[in-house]
Subunit: 249 residues, 2 copies
């Protein structure tokens, strides 16, 4: 789905760079700045530093004078605001809103073709008149006593939730193959081996076992060892038995 | 649940400040720095600037020399790493892992009492030996082609997902009371009123209505107007009728 991030009257170059980076790690690249404080913000040193390699997002970003010019191709506008506005669109948490937007609130609601996320200035947030344009108002759930979310951090959270709603990215491939879990028979064999070893090193008294083995059995059940790990533990038991043997000589 | 964020060998003061802010907006306040690059990092100007008011998190933060000293009271350690490590703990996405951690993977698994999130240095990430200590390894799902997540942004995402898993924060109270939706009878009355008005202003030809009213009916059904909005629309229809009346004189 076409996705655009729109920053309105942004003051800090670092936030523009941080936004580009936050977008790119979540696979988004359409950035529009409406009347930023610095006309050259896309080329400022701090911007490029904070973008940390997301240069293509900066290169393709557009700077426009008015919000109207930023909205082509977008048919669902999400305001972001700390506080709901009278007469504004309904305020929702991002995750719930994204789920209902993509599933459709019902069969009669068309899935949008282009979604834009609007972010106001660092100091004042979004103007009421810009919020009124929007179909929904997203409120990121923060501590009621400290809701001061950094602009680039807010972009990061929205980009993350939206990417997840769109299906997300898979886990990186495991560098090692999955190791099969030991079955209960292998575990029981290891515990018997370990029991002999614990007796041999005089830790376990067979006359007063004090539920040691059931305890160890529960511990190893919780640990759910792999076949390889059971092999390691049997090696430990074997070494204990051999050492005990040598000690007797 | 006790929650701690542990930054290991952090280089950039801005990231320490950004981390404090990211934690505080999600209601967390326990920060430990292990061997940061700057011994005075908690008092550096850039740190305080980026913390943007999360000064109590900085004031209460501890600086220690080794990871061991950071782990008191924590019984579940989550590494964060881009790539899984051989012999490391299982790699999971944060949301799935948090859900299973809190629900319990089964009745036999105890819910942890203290959870720590560990973050490596900006340049090298976490060392293998630190990852090995952990119970799980969290991988934030990012674009496989650009996984360069800023450290404070990573803290923000983990803090958000963890806070959400713990129950999250409610939406801010709506500034205006919920307005009741108009019922179908009120909507039908408004549409009849509007139809008269559209005829009066010579937009709708009763001899060739061209499905105008069913189309408007569908549009207003989708819009799901409130009682107040139906009242406004009837006011518009009334004004149209009055104007048409004057035009005839």
């Amino acid at each position: 789905m076409r996705t655009r991030f729109i920053l309105i009257q942004t003051s800090h170059a670092g936030n523009v760079g941080g936004t580009a980076r936050a977008m790119k790690v979540m696979g988004f690249d359409d950035l529009v700045l409406v009347a930023p404080r610095w006309a050259n913000v896309l080329r400022r040193e701090e911007t490029i530093q904070r973008a940390s390699g997301a240069n293509d997002v900066l290169d393709n970003a557009r700077i426009v004078d008015t919000l109207d010019e930023a909205l082509d191709g977008m048919d669902h506008l999400c305001a972001t605001a700390m506080t709901p506005r009278d007469f504004g669109p309904p305020t929702r948490h991002p995750r719930e809103h994204f789920a209902s937007l993509l599933e459709g609130a019902g069969a009669e609601v068309a899935r949008p073709g282009g979604v834009a996320f609007l972010f106001g200035s660092e100091r004042f947030g979004m103007r009421n008149e810009d919020v009124y344009r929007c179909h929904s108002c997203l409120s990121i759930p923060t501590d009621p006593l400290f809701g001061s979310l950094n602009l680039a951090a807010a972009v990061q959270l929205i980009a993350y939730d939206w990417r997840q709603a769109l299906g997300g990215y898979a886990l990186p491939p495991a560098s090692a193959p999955e190791r099969p879990l030991a079955d209960a028979k292998a575990l029981a064999g290891m515990l018997q081996h370990l029991e002999q070893a614990l007796v041999a090193v005089d830790f376990l008294d067979p006359e007063a076992p004090k539920k040691l083995m059931p305890r160890l059995n529960q511990l190893f059940n919780r640990a759910a060892p792999t076949e390889e790990e059971v092999h390691i533990l049997r090696g430990v038991a074997k070494a204990m038995l051999q050492t005990a043997d040598r000690a007797k000589r």
